[in-house]
Amino acid sequence: MAKELTQKAAWDMVLAKLKKNSLWMLHYCTGCGAIELPPTMTARYDMERFGIMPMVTPRQADILLITGYLSVKTLKRVILIYEQMQAPKYVVGFGSCTINGGMYWDSYSTIKSLDQYLPVEMYLAGCMPRPEAIISGFTWLIDRVGKGEANSWRDYYENYEFYRKNQEELFGGPVQSYQDIPADAQRFGILEAHE
């Protein structure tokens, strides 16, 4: 092993193996893709066997699932929700609309690429992705969490200016926010822990 295995690193590895078994999901269902979620959760495909459960409030959730297109107005709400979530948190872009605009590629009121505004951990391509694709994507995410590689959420703390600048350019003014992200990064030692 190239890196020296400290006690903390070993402990983190064990924790990651345990933590990957429990991922709670908050779905932000604006688009049509939400229709693929009920079969994924219920008897046919049963998402709960991986420990993935739907949760109802941002404070409790680990995954923010954006199903489909985001208009400029709804993006403001998504940013509020994302900032309320407790780290580690993973944004999953669901469907083509979050990747490049999809069928709304020439619309004036939707955003084209979600990763300009929020740190996206994983995209599920397709219009719309079938439950098999969702399950396959989530098992990939679970593997990454288990290896401790799912670190996109740190990006929001580290490159906060980049995301805020993009958001403000899009909205044409300051972003309404109730969470002081740089202060949180200091308080919980997120920036130091990564070095």
Binding site: A43, V56, T57
Partner: protein, 302 residues
């Protein structure tokens, strides 16, 4: 009981009960999944959930009372736990009868009310008001069954009641000897454990999990731990009063799982009552049953 073994028991007891709670919680989720023809999560899924929640990187506090009350929630449950006898450990039960237990059972609800009050979330406030209304619903029949059992056995000590039932054999079990009280307490227990049809406090589709709305990370983790300890605790109180307690851990576990299966089976086939219907059900069905049972005991019928 020697001092050393007492100290070991004091430390080990909550841990053992927590492990049993994890099994019961996992069993509930697996059981529901199988009924719905799903595969369901792992048997120790609640353990993974707790580990995940306690290791969140950020934890937002809403103020001093939020921090303190969440510990009051857990502390109240742990304190109650020590007064409830289980096979092998009943040292503290000789100092507190079930009047003490019925007082201590109120502490977690009050702790939750104080802590959630500070988060200032409307869903949380609705959840708390529902929790306190349900408390008025199930606590009255539950206390009445306590009184009935105490009148029948002429003692308020939980240990003595277990001994009387075990000496008298199967026919002396509370559920057989005074069935009205047993059934009334079972209905109250369903409400106490917040299972459907009385699942009005944590109603995810209605008020976004009520008291837990603003809880995240370690705060939610402590609430989960409290729930996983309170679950076997409240089932144990029922077993001790109405199912003859237990002489060894195997018998104890079997009785826990039997009662729990009965409760979650009811949970699975019902929808959710509205809060007024839930309290009405408690006062119109459970309370008269308990009252009839007490009258029967006073007239030496049952």
């Amino acid at each position: 009981m020697s001092t050393l073994s007492l100290v070991v028991w004091i430390i080990a007891y909550p841990v053992i009960i927590f492990c049993i709670g994890v099994l019961l919680g996992g069993y509930e989720r697996k059981f529901s999944a199988r009924v719905e023809r799903r595969i369901g999560p792992s048997w120790i899924q609640p353990f993974y959930d707790v580990i995940k929640l306690m290791n969140k990187k950020t934890n937002v506090s809403h103020g001093y009372m939020h921090d303190v009350a969440i510990l009051m929630l857990l502390g109240g449950t742990l304190l109650t736990l020590y007064f409830v006898p289980v096979p092998g450990f009943s040292y503290f039960s000789q100092f507190g009868d079930f009047l003490v237990i019925s007082y201590l059972l109120l502490i977690p609800s009050l702790g939750m009310a104080l802590g959630v009050g500070e988060t200032a979330n409307p869903n949380g406030s609705i959840g708390i008001s529902r929790a306190l209304q349900m408390l008025a619903g199930y606590e009255v029949p539950f206390i009445l069954t306590f009184i009935g059992v105490a009148m029948k056995e002429q003692t308020t000590s939980m240990l003595d009641i277990i001994n009387i039932q075990q000496a008298g054999g199967f026919m002396a079990w509370g559920l057989i000897a005074h069935p009205l009280l047993g059934v009334a307490a079972l209905i109250a227990l369903q409400g106490m454990l917040n299972e459907k049809p009385f699942e009005v406090i944590v109603a995810p589709h209605e008020i976004a999990t009520g008291p837990m709305t603003e809880m995240g990370g370690k705060y939610l983790g402590i609430m989960f731990i409290q729930h996983l300890i309170a679950l076997p605790l409240e089932l144990t109180i029922y077993i001790n009063l109405f199912l003859g307690g237990a002489t060894n851990w195997l018998e104890y576990l079997v009785k826990l799982f039997v009662v729990w299966t009965a409760l979650i089976s009811v949970n699975l086939v019902f929808g959710r009552f509205r809060i007024d219907s839930a309290v009405k059900f408690m006062w119109k069905i459970s309370l008269p049953l308990a009252a009839l049972g007490v009258i029967g005991i006073m007239l030496n019928i049952a």
